[in-house]
């Protein structure tokens, strides 16, 4: 399955396909191929949305003054 699909492109294509199917003036072959593609796109979109939990990381400076990325420990005390 193509996971390189951009979500909004996939949704736009889905909208188009649904519209075409609803119009109903397709040949059976076209209708089936549109339907198949639509179901595939729905799977792709759902997969994009359901990917694993995102990470929260934080940029910190190491001893040399270079930036490194570390997992964010939450440090959410109030006050600025």
């Amino acid at each position: 399955m193509n996971t390189e699909y951009k979500y909004e492109d996939a949704i736009a294509r889905l909208e188009y396909i649904a519209g075409q199917l609803e119009k109903g003036d397709l040949t059976l072959e076209e209708a089936l191929s549109f339907f198949e593609e639509g179901i595939k796109l729905i799977k792709i979109c759902s997969k994009i949305l359901d990917e694993a939990e995102g990470k929260v990381q934080v940029l910190t400076k190491d001893l040399n003054g270079d930036f490194v990325i570390k997992d964010f420990d939450g440090g959410l005390e109030a006050g600025e």
Binding site: K6, Y7, L14, G38, E51, E53, G54, V58, L59, E80
Partner: protein, 405 residues
């Protein structure tokens, strides 16, 4: 005899008077800056004045290095410092240790000036604004790691779309050094190479507390970012230069979170809806086709084909019947006509003439009809045809002319 002092000795006495004075040792002075010079050495020299008086001031490099703004002539400020004598020229002056814009007025002027300048450069142009990616994979956040803003941002983003990655570039967001840290953080996030959108901001505060976001360098760092930037500084009513130069202004940090990521629940709903539409459309399509098929299969031509043959045969019979009828009519008409002619013929027939009393005379041998007396001679045998029967006669005399005696 009074003692005689050197200039240096007197100057030292004067200086000690200044230095021992409680007020002059540490004093806040309100005034307007004039004759401002920023020397190459890094020291600042200026005059602080009001309507009636003025004091010469110096602010050494170490003291002015961390100023969050650049002093200008005409700017109203409050200076913290001490007053002492500069022995070399015998003048007293104010040694400034800190400098603050006096009230909102001065900051407002600085704000308007920078805004006008950057606007003129076209940094606020609508054509510069880049779209915020619809579904970013990784979001960079430049803010204080302990503030309310990061808490709000993380809450909103995680609630709306839990599977987006976030990189926090922690910075000071107010006070000296904040602007530099914000610039460095924007730069650093750009270098990471996989950030889709940057949110720069902080929670609400006074205009002084938000001031870092009105600094020219911060504005330029945002403008030159290769990644689209959402500015989220303070509350709805706070407008900063960062807001104008950013690709998008969020009224609050929470709103920035909403701009950066779509709501997963809404998207899921959209997909569910599309899925339903697809299934319904397909079911409807197949249903329609099936109906068409059923209708066609029920047509009599498919259901009882023999009906057609019977019907055709009946029609053929009809035609044959009609043909025969027409033929009859035609023939009887012809027959009637024939009868008419027959009657006419009968009127003209010799037999009917005989019936009226005429007779026909024929030569007995040749059967030729004798119409003239010349055609016969005495002694000839003739046959006379009557209406009923005939007479065989001998000619006694032939008379020419019509003498009926």
């Amino acid at each position: 005899m009074k003692p005689i002092f050197t200039v240096s000795e007197v100057t030292t006495i004067i200086k000690s008077l200044f230095d021992s004075n409680e007020i002059l040792r540490q004093v806040y002075i309100r005034g307007e800056i004039s004759n401002f010079k920023h020397h190459v050495s890094g020291h600042m020299y200026f005059t602080l004045k009001d309507e009636k008086s003025q004091i010469r001031c110096v602010m050494f490099r170490d003291a002015n290095r961390l100023l969050p703004f650049t002093p200008e002539n005409g700017m109203r400020v409050i200076v913290l410092g001490f007053i002492s004598v500069f022995a070399k020229n015998g003048e007293y002056q104010l040694y400034a240790e800190d400098l603050q814009p006096d009230g909102i007025g001065a900051l407002h002027i600085a704000f308007e000036k920078l805004k006008a300048k950057l606007d003129k450069e076209g940094l606020f142009g609508a054509e510069r604004k880049r779209p915020i990616p619809f579904l970013p994979k990784k979001i960079g956040i430049v803010t204080s790691p302990t503030g309310a803003a990061i808490r709000d941002l993380l809450t909103v983003i995680k609630r709306r779309f839990p599977n987006v990655d976030i990189v926090i570039a922690p910075t000071l967001v107010q006070g000296t050094g904040a602007a530099d840290e914000i610039c460095a953080a924007i730069d650093e996030l750009n270098k990471l190479g996989d950030i889709d959108v940057i949110i720069v901001g902080r929670g609400g505060g006074s205009i002084e507390e938000l001031w870092a976001f009105n600094e020219e360098k911060v504005a330029r760092a945002i403008a030159s970012s290769g990644i689209p930037v959402i500015s989220a500084v303070g509350h709805e009513t706070d407008y900063t230069i960062s807001d104008f130069v950013a690709d998008k202004r969020a009224p609050t940090p929470s709103a920035a979170g909403e701009m950066a990521v779509p709501s997963k629940a809404v998207l899921k709903n959209e997909i569910r809806h599309l899925n339903l539409r697809l299934l319904n459309a397909m079911a409807r399509y197949i249903g329609t086709e099936r109906q068409k098929l059923e209708y066609l299969s029920k047509l009599p031509v498919f259901k009882r084909p023999q009906t057609y043959i019977i019907n055709n045969r009946l029609a053929l019979d009809e035609i044959i019947k009609k043909l025969l009828r027409e033929m009859d009519i035609y023939l009887s008409e012809k027959r009637a006509l024939l009868n008419t002619y027959t009657e006419k013929l009968e009127v003209l027939s010799p037999i009917s003439i005989l019936k009226r009393g005429y007779s026909i005379c024929m030569d007995a041998d040749s059967k030729r009809i004798i119409k003239s007396a010349k055609d016969a001679k005495e002694g000839d045998m003739v046959v006379i045809l009557l209406s009923e029967g005939s007479l065989v006669c001998n000619v006694k005399e032939c008379k020419e002319g019509n003498e009926n005696t």
